[in-house]
């Protein structure tokens, strides 16, 4: 079964002038870069003191964390209401294409893997992993705010017993360290020349018609002309 025969959700995209295909709207690019700045700030304020660079990191860390929480909440609401969230979920066509790609890479025969829609299966799995980790970091981080004084509340370290605090801090720590791995992989793919068309689209918002035709299945991610 080809990708076009599946019931995979089809996301309509609008062509920008001069025959470019809109991939990321301005609001989505702003979200991406603000999230990137937040995550890098959070990593710097979390891990640099551990590595020996001592500075007053707590205030910057928790305020950036609250900012990231608001960004993620906006993203979730936007994805659920105004975007097609199913376009980011792995589906049967993705799994078949992935299996065919592995078979082809191992020298096996069989049908060629179909092109993806807007996102490849590995991009979808990466997004899923980041979503799980970021949500774990946000929930545990918000609970950890109970242990510091802020302009909005006084600390209350007795909210949980010591063992529960240990779980909360462990979740925050493990998920944060795993994010280091995922951010490294993300930057690596963004810098790979064969992925520059995607990296450029996160700056410009669009991909060329040629890039769209080369990398995407129009039946799964449909470009719609303005004219």
């Amino acid at each position: 079964m080809s990708a076009s025969e599946t019931s995979a959700p089809v996301t309509r995209v609008v062509s920008a002038p001069n025959e470019r295909v809109l991939r990321h709207q301005l609001v989505d690019r702003l979200y991406h870069w603000l999230m990137a700045a937040s995550v890098l700030t959070l990593m710097g304020t979390a891990f640099l003191p551990i590595l020996g660079w001592k500075f007053e990191w707590v205030s910057v860390h928790w305020m950036t964390g609250v900012g990231l929480t608001l960004l993620v909440l906006i993203h979730i609401v936007r994805a659920l209401i105004w975007q097609d969230w199913r376009a980011m979920m792995p589906d049967g066509a993705d799994v078949r294409a992935g299996a065919r790609s592995i078979r082809a890479a191992l020298g096996g025969s069989g049908p060629a893997p179909g092109k993806p829609g807007k996102y490849k299966i590995l991009q979808k799995l990466y997004h899923l992993a980041v979503a799980i980790l970021v949500l774990a970091i946000i929930v545990s981080g918000l609970l950890m705010l109970l242990k510091i004084d802020t302009p909005f509340w006084k600390r209350n370290p007795y909210w949980f017993d010591a063992d529960t605090w240990g779980v909360v801090y462990s979740v925050h720590g493990f998920a944060s360290m795993a994010m280091v791995t995922l951010v490294m992989i993300h930057i690596y793919f963004a810098l790979r020349p064969d992925e520059w068309w995607l990296t450029r689209s996160m700056f410009r918002g669009t991909v060329s018609r040629e890039e769209y035709a080369e990398h995407c299945d129009p039946s799964r991610w449909r470009a719609e002309d303005r004219a």
Binding site: D163, I185, Y188
Partner: protein, 53 residues
């Protein structure tokens, strides 16, 4: 190397977990580097085979 950081309980009679061990951070960095190196090598080999055929 331990997976967790520990501290004495407030009663002083046991150890309690206070978080993940930061000794693991280099391992997470190493995992990222390992993925990047393996992927780059596999893509380079696949690309060379693609050009040869």
């Amino acid at each position: 190397m331990e997976l967790f950081r520990y501290a004495a309980s407030i009663y002083g009679d046991s150890r309690v977990v206070i978080g993940a061990s930061w000794d693991l951070l280099p391992w997470f960095v190493a995992a990222g580097l390992a993925f990047i190196i393996v992927h780059a090598v596999v893509k380079a080999i696949a690309g060379r085979h693609g050009h040869a055929s």
